[in-house]
C-alpha cells in the first residue's frame, strides 16, 4: 500500500493525458463518447480536450480509490449507480480501462514496475471494476 501511495503522488500529475489509450486500443469503447467530437484517429483522440478532461476526472476518481482501499464498494456506490442507470456502460469496460491504466503505469515506471507491483495494481483495478459494477441491476 505504501508503494501505491507513493505512486499516486507521482502518477496523478503525469500521463493522465495518455490515459485515454482505451479509446484507441479498444475503439468500440468510443460508443460512450459520441458527444466528444473528433475521435477519428489516434492523434485526434489523444489531442481531444474533452477526452483529456474526462481522463483527468477518471484518474482523480481512482486517486480516491487509493485512499479508500478498505471500502471500494462504499466509495464507488454512487458512481456505480450512475454508470448503470444513466451512462449504461457495460462493466466489461471497467476491466479494459483498468488494464490500460496498468500498461500506462508500466510505461511510466519502467523497470520499477516489477511483477509484484503489477500484481498490486491489477488487484486494485479489479477491485475498482468490481465496486463500479456492484450496484448494477
Amino acid at each position: 500500500m505504501v508503494v501505491l501511495g507513493e505512486m499516486k503522488r507521482k502518477v496523478l500529475p503525469l500521463h493522465f493525458l495518455q490515459f485515454m489509450r482505451l479509446l484507441v486500443v479498444y475503439p468500440w469503447t468510443q460508443r460512450f463518447f459520441d458527444s466528444f467530437g473528433n475521435l477519428s484517429s489516434a492523434s485526434a483522440i489523444m489531442g481531444n480536450p474533452k477526452v483529456k478532461a474526462h481522463g483527468k476526472k477518471v484518474l482523480t476518481s481512482l486517486g480516491d480509490a487509493i485512499k479508500h482501499l478498505d471500502d471500494l464498494k462504499g466509495t464507488f456506490a454512487q458512481l456505480s449507480e450512475l454508470h448503470c442507470d444513466k451512462l449504461h456502460v457495460d462493466p466489461e469496460n471497467f476491466k479494459l480501462l483498468g488494464n490500460v491504466l496498468v500498461t500506462v503505469l508500466a510505461i511510466h515506471f519502467g523497470k520499477e514496475f516489477t511483477p509484484e507491483v503489477q500484481a498490486s495494481w491489477q488487484k486494485m483495478v479489479t477491485g475498482v471494476a468490481s465496486a463500479l459494477s456492484s450496484r448494477y441491476h
Binding site: 495518455q18 489509450r21 484507441v24 486500443v25 479498444y26 489516434a42 489523444m46 488494464n99 496498468v102 500498461t103 500506462v104 508500466a106 510505461i107 511510466h108 515506471f109 519502467g110 523497470k111 514496475f113 511483477p115 509484484e116 503489477q118 500484481a119 491489477q122
Partner: protein, 141 residues
C-alpha cells in the same frame, strides 16, 4: 484484417524484442504467475520451482512462436496449426487465460520500451496477439 500500418507497428514491436526472446519470455511468464496465480496450474513444474534457466528456456520457446506468428501474420492458421493442435489436444488451456497472458505481454513491452511503446503499437499488438489466441484455441471443439 490487419492494415498495412498495423503490420508495420507489429513488425516494429517485434524488432525491439528480437534477440531478447528468452529474457522477455521469462519475464512474461514470471509476471503471469505473479499477477494471475491461477495460471500456474498449466505450468506445474515451471511455476513450482521458478528456476531461472527453465523460465528462460520456456520463455524463449514461447516468444519464438510469437516471432513465427509475426513472420506469417497473413496466414496465422497455417503457420500455427501444429501449435493449435497442441493446445487443443494436449495443453487444453482454457481460452479465458489468453487475455491474461496478453495483458502481461503489454506490461513487459511497456516497462521495457516505455515511451517508445506508442498507443498505435499497443493497439496493433493487442489486435495481433488476440488473433493469435483465436487461432490457438479454434480447434478446441
Amino acid at each position: 484484417m490487419l492494415s498495412a500500418q498495423e503490420r508495420a507497428h507489429i513488425a516494429q514491436v517485434w524488432d525491439l524484442i528480437a534477440g531478447h526472446e528468452a529474457q522477455f519470455g521469462a519475464e512474461l511468464l514470471l509476471r503471469l504467475f505473479t499477477v494471475y496465480p491461477s495460471t500456474k496450474v498449466y505450468f506445474p513444474h515451471l511455476s513450482a520451482c521458478q528456476d531461472a534457466t527453465q523460465l528462460l528456456s520456456h520463455g524463449q520457446r514461447m516468444l519464438a512462436a510469437v516471432g513465427a506468428a509475426v513472420r506469417h501474420m497473413d496466414n496465422l492458421r497455417a503457420a500455427l496449426s501444429p501449435l493449435a493442435d497442441l493446445h487443443a489436444l494436449v495443453l487444453r488451456v482454457d481460452p479465458a487465460n489468453f487475455p491474461l497472458l496478453i495483458q502481461c505481454f503489454h506490461v513487459v513491452l511497456a516497462s521495457h520500451l516505455q515511451d517508445e511503446f506508442t498507443v498505435q503499437m499497443q493497439a496493433a499488438w493487442d489486435k495481433f496477439l488476440t488473433g493469435v489466441a483465436v487461432v490457438l484455441t479454434e480447434k478446441y471443439r
